[in-house]
Every structure is written in C-alpha cells, then in structure tokens.
C-alpha cells in the first residue's frame, strides 16, 4: 500500500513501531466486534439443534437446490437475452440513419433511468405476466440497455486509424464493423460485460419480491417454518455464502479476463476496460474505457 498513494512516505523504524501499535489496537477492537456478534448469536440461541435440523432433511435440501436452479435459470435466460438486446441496441446507436440512432438512444436512456424493480413490477402487475417472464423481461431490458452502452463505448474506443484504414481498403461500413471494430471492441469490453452480468445475477434475487420461486424464496419458506423455531439466521448463514460465492466467482472471472486481454497483442489498438469502482452496482454507471 505505502508507495502507491500520495498519503505516506515509506515509514521509518519509529513509524513502523507506531503502526504496529495501531495494528494491535485495531485487531483487538475487530476481534472484540466479532466476539460480540458471536456472543449475540449464541445468546439468542441461533445454534440450537432445532434451528439447524431442517438442513439435514432431503426435502429441504431439494427445495433449496430447486430454488438455486430457478435462480440460475432466470440468470441464464436473462443474460443471453440481454446480450442479444444489447447487441441490437448498440447497432442501433451506431447506425448511420438518424431516426434509428435517436430511437435507440431514447430506449437505452429510458430503460437505464428506470429502477429495474419498477419495470419488473409493471410487467408483472400491469401486463399480468408470469413471475419468470416478468423477472427475465425486466432484467433483459435494463441490462440490455447497459450492455448496449458498454459495447458502443467499446466500438468508439478503438483507435481511429483502424476504422480509417479499413475504409481506405474499400470496405463497406458493415464490413468495417464486423471484421475490424467489433472484434476488438468485444475483446476490450469483455471484462465490463462480465461485471454487468454479475449485476444481472444479483438482481435475479428481485424475483423474490414477485413470488418467483428462486433461491431466496426457498430460504424464506424454510425460515418462516414454526416447526424449526423460525430458523432465520441459519437460513441467511446458509444462503448468503452461496449467493456471494457465485457473484465473487463471476467478478473474479472479469478481473482475470481483463488481465489476459490487457496482455493480449490483439487489444493493441484499444484500451481494455477494467472493472472500476462503479462496476457491480445495480443502477450504476456502466464502465467505459478511457479514450485513446
């Protein structure tokens, strides 16, 4: 850490000693915090057998697995559809025809400005769609629009010389796009696309609010069971590591892909997007690449 920020010099022996003292104090406070939480957990009887018993039953395990399967199903459909929609909208925004460009821009801006939950509720309540349809449609509209922005900024970030050289060779616009710009843009934006998919995966949990039988819904069913003494905390303790683990795995993929593409000679003419501070935030700004 030291040396990378403007905040400190490399510490000398006395400063290191002082930092060590701070370290001991901070560790003590943090350990105290953890101990207090553990005490609370034990004190309110969260580790009793009755509360953890349901997870032994086969039926409950199957219920959880079914929920997880539904979550992954919604994610897979929404991811595939939003990639398609993102591609279409990006093509629209890069079109040479002004009406097409305008229409695509209005759609993208509108769907990005709306809370995704409002769209999901609208499709679920007003259009009376099935929960899965409503969830997938809402996620697709939102993430598709964001991906369109990501892809467009990728195409625009490819060095100007590439486009000019391709046109000079006599290629048509479609050829320039398909053979020159898009392949480089996709490579550069792949990390950003993956981190947007993490947002989609996280947002599948919104299905819980429209009674789609996904992972969180399964958890709620178990947690509100009186026979097991309302095992709320145990359910959260079981469910959240799985959710967080899945998302972290995907985020980690994004970081790895970003490192690989940065080293790749095929991204020489475009800057690779690195998942920035705003990545992974539902409703946040999509990552864009610095202009060359």
């Amino acid at each position: 850490m030291t040396g990378t920020t403007a905040l400190y010099d490399i510490p000398g022996p006395r400063t290191r000693q002082r930092h060590r003292l701070y370290g001991v104090l901070a560790t003590a406070v943090l350990l105290g915090l953890i101990a207090w939480i553990l005490y609370l957990l034990f004190d309110t009887g969260q580790f009793t057998y009755t509360k953890w018993m349901p997870f032994v039953y086969k039926g409950i395990q199957e219920l959880l697995l079914r929920g997880l399967g539904n979550t992954l199903k919604a994610f897979a459909i929404a991811a595939a559809l939003s990639l398609v929609l993102g591609g279409v909208l990006a093509v629209g925004r890069l079109s040479d025809h002004r009406p097409v460009r305008r229409a695509a821009a209005v759609l993208v801006e509108f769907f990005r400005a709306m809370p995704v939950l409002v769209m999901i509720f609208f499709i679920f309540v007003a259009l009376k769609a099935q929960p899965l349809t409503a969830l997938v449609a809402g996620l697709t509209l939102y993430n598709g629009s964001v991906l369109a922005e990501v892809l467009r900024s990728g195409v625009n970030a490819v060095e100007r010389g590439q486009r000019e050289a391709a046109f000079a060779l006599g290629m048509r616009k479609t050829q320039v796009m398909a053979h020159v710009l898009v392949p480089q843009a996709v490579r550069a934006m792949l990390p950003a696309v993956i981190s947007q998919l993490v947002v989609a995966l996280k947002d599948t949990s919104l299905g819980y609010l429209i009674t789609y039988e996904e992972f969180l819904h399964a958890g709620k069913l178990i947690a509100s069971n009186l026979d097991y003494d309302l095992p709320f905390i145990p359910v959260v303790m079981v469910i959240s590591p799985i959710y967080i683990g899945m998302c972290m795995l995907l985020s980690w993929c994004a970081v790895r892909v970003s490192r690989r593409e940065q080293r790749s000679p095929r991204t020489g003419a475009v800057a690779v997007a690195t998942p920035g501070p705003g990545a992974l935030l539902p409703g946040g700004e999509p990552p864009t690449v610095p202009k060359p």
């Binding site: 403007a6 905040l7 701070y22 939950l117 309540v125 007003a126 501070p277």
Partner: protein
C-alpha cells in the same frame, strides 16, 4: 390523468418517502464509505483487511438478500426498529461499499509527487491530507459519487416492495382502489425520473463548479 389528481397526496407521500430514504441512506453511505475508504488506505494491515472484506462482501451481495437479512433477520437479535430505519441501514451499508471504492479511486488519482512535495515543505500528515490530497481527490470523485447516489435512489424501490412508504409501494393501494394500472405506473416512473434527473443536475452543477478542468 385522474389517477394522479385523485391520489395526489398518496403519490406525494410516496415521493417524499423515496426522497427521505435516499437522503438518509445517502448520508449514511457517504459517512460509512469515507470511513471504509480511510481504512482501505490506512497503513495498518488489519484495518485494510477489514475494509477489503467489507467492500468485497457487500459488492457481491444481492441487495434483496441484504434487505431480507436486515429487515427480517435483525429483529431475531431483539433489535426492533421501524422498517424505515432498517431500510436506511440496508441501503446505506450497501451503497457505502461503492462510495468507498469511488473515494479510494479518487485518492489514488492524486500523483505521489503531490504528497512528496507537501511533506518536503514540512507539512504534517493532517496538513498533507487536508490541504493537498483531499481537495484534489474531491474534484475527481464528484461524477462517480453522483452516479452511485443516483443508483441509490433507484435501488430504494426495493424498500417499497418491503412495505416501507415509498414511491413504488403506492401501486399496491391504487391497484386495490381499481385505478388504471398502466397510468399508475406512468406516474411512478415519472416520480423516479424527477428524482434521478434532479440528482444528476445537482452533480453536473457540482462538477462544473469544482470538477477537474479538462
């Protein structure tokens, strides 16, 4: 049209609920995010680790799960607070992870030479921080913090689904009263647009006044 005029007070209550939620959660997120960012750049390893864990876990948690855990889980510890406070806690903690990252990225944009120059002039750590590093970092964090707060306003819709008085939550009452559901949602959408556009205008103004000249 008459959906809005007939139920103006209901819409207004929902709208103000969303604004209030956004403001309180935003303040909490800014305070916590600042604290976590200072942990993450601290020279103390255990604080850095704590900051990293906080950010990594919260960034990878679905907000609905966090709401679920806070609204329905915390009362199990005997902590019974109004729903509104729980919603502010969940939204604020969640957003603080992103604010923290934005602030940290801002601090890291300040070139090392700035700090070195300040120290060679004999400035203390506090002076370096307050007079040299933070003013420059502040300029570059305006846009990312703005977009994070806009996202917070949009995410507050989840609170409405957990029955906190909020803009999205108004659809339930209106639906039961038998109003045209499409128009109900049009006015809800307009409400969110007003909030997000106002926030974005505010941060554009801040950016114009304080932002980095490019």
């Amino acid at each position: 049209m008459n959906v809005l005029t007939d139920n103006f007070s209901l819409y207004a209550r929902g709208f103000l609920g969303t604004v209030e939620l956004t403001v309180y959660a935003g303040l909490l997120a800014l305070a916590l995010g600042f604290l976590m960012a200072s942990f993450r750049v601290a020279p103390v390893a255990s604080l850095r680790a704590f900051g990293t864990v906080w950010v990594t876990v919260l960034r990878n948690t679905p907000l609905t799960l966090l709401f679920f855990a806070v609204v329905l889980g915390l009362p199990r510890f005997g902590l019974v607070l109004p729903f509104r406070v729980f919603a502010v806690l969940a939204l604020g903690c969640y957003t603080s992870a992103f604010i923290c990252e934005a602030l940290r990225a801002g601090i890291n944009t300040v070139p090392r030479g700035q700090g070195e120059a300040a120290r060679s002039l004999g400035m203390t750590f506090g002076q370096t921080l307050n007079l040299v590093v933070l003013p420059q970092a502040f300029r570059s964090v305006i846009p990312p913090v703005g977009s994070t707060l806009i996202a917070l306003a949009k995410n507050s819709a989840i609170a409405g689904a957990f029955s906190v008085t909020e803009l999205l939550g108004t659809y339930k009452t209106l639906n039961e009263l038998g109003y045209d559901i499409v128009w109900t949602f049009v006015w809800i959408a307009l409400g969110y647009l007003i909030i997000t556009l106002a926030l974005s205008a505010l941060f554009h103004a801040l950016e114009r006044t304080w932002g980095v000249a490019r």
